[in-house]
């Protein structure tokens, strides 16, 4: 592969009128702003010896700047990567997020706490229920009712959360396989995801934008035969998963694409603030469900899968194993789930039963006040974190005592993972960008919250 550095003869206009690096750095090309100088460690990597030594035997070349995204088939979720490439090698990249800015935080600050749930659905839109649960737990922590949550509600939250985690990982893995050309496993995984979504639709009334969790519990109890249906689906899913594995993990071509690509060390990953499957791929067994158990996660036996190298393959394997572990949790949760109410009996927080609202003035007043004024959350601030599909999903909420958050911030794992993308793809080929980007699993809704 062509791996020369920039020619020493000075830059001249390339064929086809492509901008020269100088023009780009000087900001002389309309639409491309001047870029800051690279950090020293990246410069050092750029100028390392391995790259230098082959310079003499090749024709002098000049780097080309090329735009990947914002609308590019691989950039699911609108991200723009400005690449400086030398042949096929990425010499520099500038990852620009923000093309999908949804104003989640500001929207949340203009809405009552209950109204935020539909917005959280659209954060990480492949695992909306995990976001629902995360947000509800944050508000509940501020309200001080976490310990009083009904057990059944906690179990239901675990069940829907783990189903969402499976769908999240299936989407990530399937899309990554599809992007490296393996279209068939993608559709098989989507098929499994569809089964799970059908289950969730039965439970929540919507396939994707569930807005199912409420402060103090969940909106509705499980429908009839939900547990049995879930077990049946999981059984079928394991088979499909095995077939997908045989097409991907064991396939040498796929392995070649993944092995040693996008490698990051555990120290770096922690320094970048990574969490979730991406961090675990480097060998750090940090899982919020294990380390800081919430809901009823301390009652389940499950393992934290970790990788050993921190490359794309580890990220694939960790996610695959996590699907199995989630299935394990689901299995145990289905056995343990108790009967009981699914919403806290606390009239200042939870809506009264509909029948009472229709018939008594007391419940009617409570109903009105909860909707008009919102849930009055005592003043204070809280940071609550859960294990989202992509990593630690944190909600930081400041309450001023009124019915809506004064400040609502999301620690979105996708945003934090995407920071490191530039470093991961440095020196790799264009073809490596896609799986690396895909396995970081940037979800636009979450990244550009």
């Amino acid at each position: 592969m062509s791996t020369t550095t920039q020619s020493k003869t000075g830059s001249k206009k390339l064929a086809l009128g492509m901008p020269t690096p100088e023009e780009i750095t000087a900001g002389g090309i309309p639409g491309i702003s001047a870029r800051p100088k690279l950090p020293p460690d990246l410069m050092a990597k750029l100028n390392n010896e391995e790259l230098e030594e082959v310079e003499d035997i090749e024709l002098p070349t000049e780097p080309m700047t090329i735009n990947m995204g914002p609308s590019h088939p691989a950039t699911h979720g609108t991200v723009r990567i400005i690449l400086t490439i030398d042949g096929e090698t990425v010499r520099d990249s500038d990852v620009q997020v923000g093309y999908l800015h949804r104003c989640f935080e500001k929207e949340a600050e203009a809405a009552t706490y209950t109204q935020v749930f539909p917005y959280t659905d659209r954060l990480n839109y492949v695992s909306p229920l995990l976001n629902n649960v995360g947000f509800a737990l944050a508000v509940e922590k501020l309200l001080g009712i976490v310990d009083r949550l009904p057990e059944r509600a906690s179990y239901i939250r675990v069940i829907v959360g783990e189903i969402s985690r499976i769908t999240d990982h299936l989407t990530c893995l399937g899309a990554s396989a599809m992007e490296v050309g393996g279209f068939t496993p993608f559709l098989w995984m989507i098929k499994v995801r569809e089964w799970l979504w059908e289950l969730l639709e039965e439970l929540t009334g919507a396939r994707l934008t569930h807005s199912y969790v409420r402060i103090g519990g969940v909106a509705q109890d499980l429908p009839e035969h939900f547990i049995e249906k879930l077990r049946a689906v999981l059984e079928k899913s394991v088979e499909v998963l095995g077939e997908c594995e045989s097409l991907l993990v064991k396939n040498r071509i796929f392995r070649d694409r993944m092995d040693g690509v996008g490698t990051i060390s555990a120290e770096d990953a922690i320094a970048w603030g990574w969490t979730g499957p991406c961090l675990r791929s480097t060998g750090v067994p940090y899982d919020v469900r294990k380390d800081h158990p919430y809901l009823v996660y301390d009652r389940f036996e499950f393992d934290v899968p970790v990788g050993s190298v921190g490359d794309n393959y580890d990220r694939v394997a960790v996610r695959l194993e996590e699907i199995r572990q989630s299935m394990r949790i689901l299995d145990q949760a289905c056995k343990q789930i108790p009967a009981g109410p699914v919403l806290l009996d606390e009239p200042r927080i939870c809506m009264p039963p509909k029948n009472a609202v229709y018939n008594t003035i007391e419940s009617m007043i409570g109903h009105f006040k909860l909707i008009v004024d919102g849930i009055k959350v005592p003043p204070g601030e809280v940071y609550s974190y859960t294990e989202g599909g992509n990593g630690e999903l944190g909600f930081y909420i400041v309450s001023d005592g009124s019915g809506r958050p004064y400040r609502c911030h999301v620690r979105a794992p996708s945003f934090i993972h995407t920071q490191a993308l530039s470093k991961l793809i440095l020196g790799a080929g264009i073809a490596d960008i896609i799986p690396t980007f895909g396995l970081i699993n940037m979800i636009g809704g979450e990244c550009d919250r």
Binding site: P347, T360, I361, E362, I365, G366, F368, S402
Partner: protein, 602 residues
Amino acid sequence: MAETPPSPMKSSIAAALRETQSPSPPPVAPPAAASAAPAGSAPSSAPPPSDIVTIKLDGRDVQAKKGANLLEVCLSNGVDVSYFCYHPGLSSPAVCRQCLVEVVGQPKLVPACFTPIADKMEVNTATPRVLGIRRQMLEFTLVNHPVDCPICDKAGECTLQKQYQDWDHVGSRSSIPKVHKPKMQDLGPHIVLDAERCILCTRCIRVCDEVAGEKQLTMAWRGDREQLTVAPGHQLDNPYSLNTVDVCPVGALTSKDFRFTMRAWELFSTSSVCPGCATGCNVEVHHAQGEIWRLVPRENLQVNKYWMCDEGRFTYKNVRHKRLTSARIGGGRGQPAQITSIDKAVAFAAERLDRLASGGGTIGLVFSAQTTNEALFALSQVAQKLSTRGATIRTYVTGTAARPERADKILRSADTNPNAAGAKLFAGTGAGDASALLSDLKAGKLKGLWMAGGDLPLTEQALFDAAPLVDGLELFICQAVHDSPLLRRAQVQLPAAAWAEVDGSFTNNKNLVQRLRKAVTPQGDARSHLELIGQIAKKANLAQSEKWQVSARQAFLQMVASVSSSLPAGADPAQSVAAGFASADWGREYLPVQLRFANSRG
């Protein structure tokens, strides 16, 4: 509207907000008003020490004036006590029993609103006994309350809803059928009564008795059949009747005007001043979706206390009706005017004005008493420039006609212009009135006329008859909010923003300069008088970048500096209009907040 007890989970933000929304009385206030400062703020002049007693309120020592109302002391010290029948502007009958508190040494609970404090009194407001009684009282109040929230206009700002949610939130234990009473009773021209919802607090009766001075409402029957009524053959028709709707803690009394048009919680509130008369009652403009839905009085003990008149509440309708929404030029002398852009109309006016002034013509400037101080000040600045350019300036003060029949000793004033004092001040001592203007026009003394505000104290017919007088003018510029026969004869017709669409100030009949705030965006192309004057002055090279051309706030600051520069220190606003300016304050800017989040009502 006035009950604003601090809620147990009151937010600092909401508190800060309320502070900005509360009136900004001039620092130099009449001493009489100082003791009646809004609840919660320390009195500015301390009473003699002998009057101060110390009581123990929920375990902490609190100092207050001897004989003060215990409920007021509780509220001003941040102790939340629920109540329905108490109102700071009314007497206390202690009928609702909601504010019962425990006074150590007394076997029974006492109503806080009916108990004067005495030295060494020990009061507990949050013991289980008190809370239990409070809850029982609420349960009792709710026993016969209909399940009406969905159709009740008060929902969202209902005191009963608020107290239940704050103090009770327990289901009813009663299963007997509710007592039914008449609904939708017509009480008067503005009011509808729903007797089922009434919780018999008698606030409305006291408003009529004590504020309006007309004993029109009373309670009839007893026990669970007790209900509010008017005397047979009579109506609730006093000019302050709509205050009963404001003070009603539930939706028993509703305003026909506001009824079923908008939900209270969806409204945004902007504090402003009523433009209905020279009293200048402080109001909250409640608006949503770009429209004003109602006006409610805003507490200001110096001006209107907690009240306003019914007529004043309907002044918002003027903002919608008969508006001039686009500029027109070329009217007069029987020709129809052409609609054009503001810029073209301004350029047209400026060019003619410049020519007229340079030619040494006589120009009449009309200072309307319906217009803000800032616009009038700007016009006076322009007048100076015009006269230095060679024009002869005559000034006139106009406005709507006085209505002596509406004057009373309470709030209503005969002068229906909100800013007569300001207009007189800026028009100068030699200013004529509307009749002088008409006679000058008749005599042909004026070559040009520039009206900042199109109101004249004439009836529609008289105005129509007088209108041809302006046809003899070389230039007639009219900036007007509403369409009128006179305006249609102007060569330059400029749409001006109405009072609720501008920032600015009015000077009331007590020489207080009070702040208007922009609540809604101007209709059509309309712009504020100040902006229009500024643009004409700019185009005519009368002023380029004066401070008053920048913004209403800059104009205000320049105006205050300019007016008060010639004043002796410590001038009494009661004595001169100018002294009112010396102590005027622009106040803080804020974005309107939806009432459901503002924590201000109900």
